[in-house]
Amino acid sequence: MATDTAALVELRGVTRTYGQVAALEDFSLAIHADQPRIIAIVGESGSGKTTLARVLLGLVAPTSGHVLYQGRDLHALSGTERRAFRRDIQAIFQDPYGVYNPFYRVDHVLTTPVARFRLAKSRTEARGLIADALRAVGLRPEEILGRYPHQLSGGQRQRVMVARALLLRPHLIVADEPVSMVDASLRATILGSLRQLNQERGISIIYITHDLATAYQVADSIIVLYRAAVAEAGDVELVVKAPKHPYTQLLIASIPQVSTERTWLADEAAKPQDQPGDGGCRFVARCPHAMPLCRRSVPSLLRTEPRRDVACHLYTGGVQQETLAGVSADR
């Protein structure tokens, strides 16, 4: 079911280059406020994940293409609209240490947005809002408030950041590697909080990660980036269980599994070395299925099934679409 109203946020053909290097190329994505989803963006370092987050948050302007907030170009927003955007789209970053000023109590990161966006009329109301937000992410306010950042665990610090985002009642949270620096024992809890915010409060979440396994656990749909462009996108069950793009296949094979079958290192030995190709498919130098065509022409992103897009010459039957499969309104 397509919606008539403008998307909450839309990227249209966004390219961002740094000097000669494209960090993100011709990327399109629409997020509708009335269809809260969790979309995972997966890729290796340098694939453009963080550039995408920064473009979405309006921290970096696209070199070409457009970023729209409720149908209006981001750079054309008025002061009031920009404020609304800043509130509506919240960010959670990788480092749950670096985001805190060690000299302030953790309360500071919670009271600041309440004051800045005038969320409460009184101190009591502000305290109530903050306590609710902390409880929503599974923290006990009395164990958190009044403490300094170093007195909290990494997992607690990161959940306080989720609570901070939640305070502003956003429609979208962009979480850039939110659990890569916390212990495995705490990852499930933090990702569980994100999932809960999505289901209970209708907040869309962009989960940026290099970890395909957590992406599978958390997300509804997934976008696999490789060297600045989409390699494969679609429903998370389809993409993870039956990956089509050779890069997605490599990513999945690279995850070390808890298993008594030890094939992980053996499979690595025969793999071609990584070297940048010039022209043609970005993945050609590493691809076990490379054909002469792959060296000549860049594969376009085609819809191979109702809920999947793939950019690979192995799959030619598809049709080019404007929006990503399994991500946007067109079900």
Binding site: G46, S185, V240, W264, E268
Partner: protein
Amino acid sequence: MNAFVLRVEGLRVSYDHPAGAVRAVDDVSFSLRPHERFGLAGESGSGKSTMALAILRLIRPPGHIDGGEVWLEDTRLSALSDEAMRRLRLAGIALVPQGSMNALNPVVRIRGQIADALADHDAPLSPRLLAARVRDLLGQVGLPPPVADMYPHELSGGMKQRACIAIAICLRPKVIIADEPTSALDVVVQRQVMATLARVQQELGAAVVLVGHDMGLMAQFVDRLGVMYAGRLVEIAPIADIITTPKHPYTQMLIATLPSLERKGMMQGIPGLAPLLRDLPPGCAFHPRCPMAAERCRAERPLLRDFGGRQAACHFA
């Protein structure tokens, strides 16, 4: 002749703190056979990195080694002078520290950093021999010769980590201690770096201690695993036994933290937090988080017991 290349016996490390000393490693013992790959797993704060540093006598104040011995073959490390210990590092036991890619000197080319390591251990080479040695070392870790003349910032994360491995093996150590060597790398590169480490280890005939918290990585890399909790080893067993029949509830839960690619909703956290080392719960340190905890667990600390080729410290094991 000693059957073990490295023996750690009753090692204890504490850190001084105004509120009293904190024991970070408490009575830890394990042994490594030549060629063996041994894993040390646990959450942050479990003492696994402190272990790695203590083996090399690299604990700095306010930390200190309170007791126990480390043997490298027939050498008792605590008996060595500081100078002899300095020589033994890298030559006998090499460390690939956590985030070691950031430990490379940013203003020295890779060749210079390898030359420094050799010169510092009285193995300086003529420029011609050095060039050949550097080429060999880089080849061993799968880096092309031009890398020798590059600066760290010109290399990718995976290449930097391989350069660190090249430095670690330059004096053919008997033991390589790798502390989360791939935690900052993505999975594809992680597999390349671990494959490199495995190959280099085989060529050298060295033993490896892999410190980390990723049970998937442990399952695929190590032969035996020690699981640490709150400064103590709570289970040691061959890796296949750990995976198929973990004896300690903490080991079971550590395995369950790994997200499955097969079924959704299979990823679990471990409830509660790791205990503060200066305020350990009485009895079993794990009992506040343990689903099986009983009266005995709250009163009596379980000792590491033998179960035929494996050990576990749990009253219910």
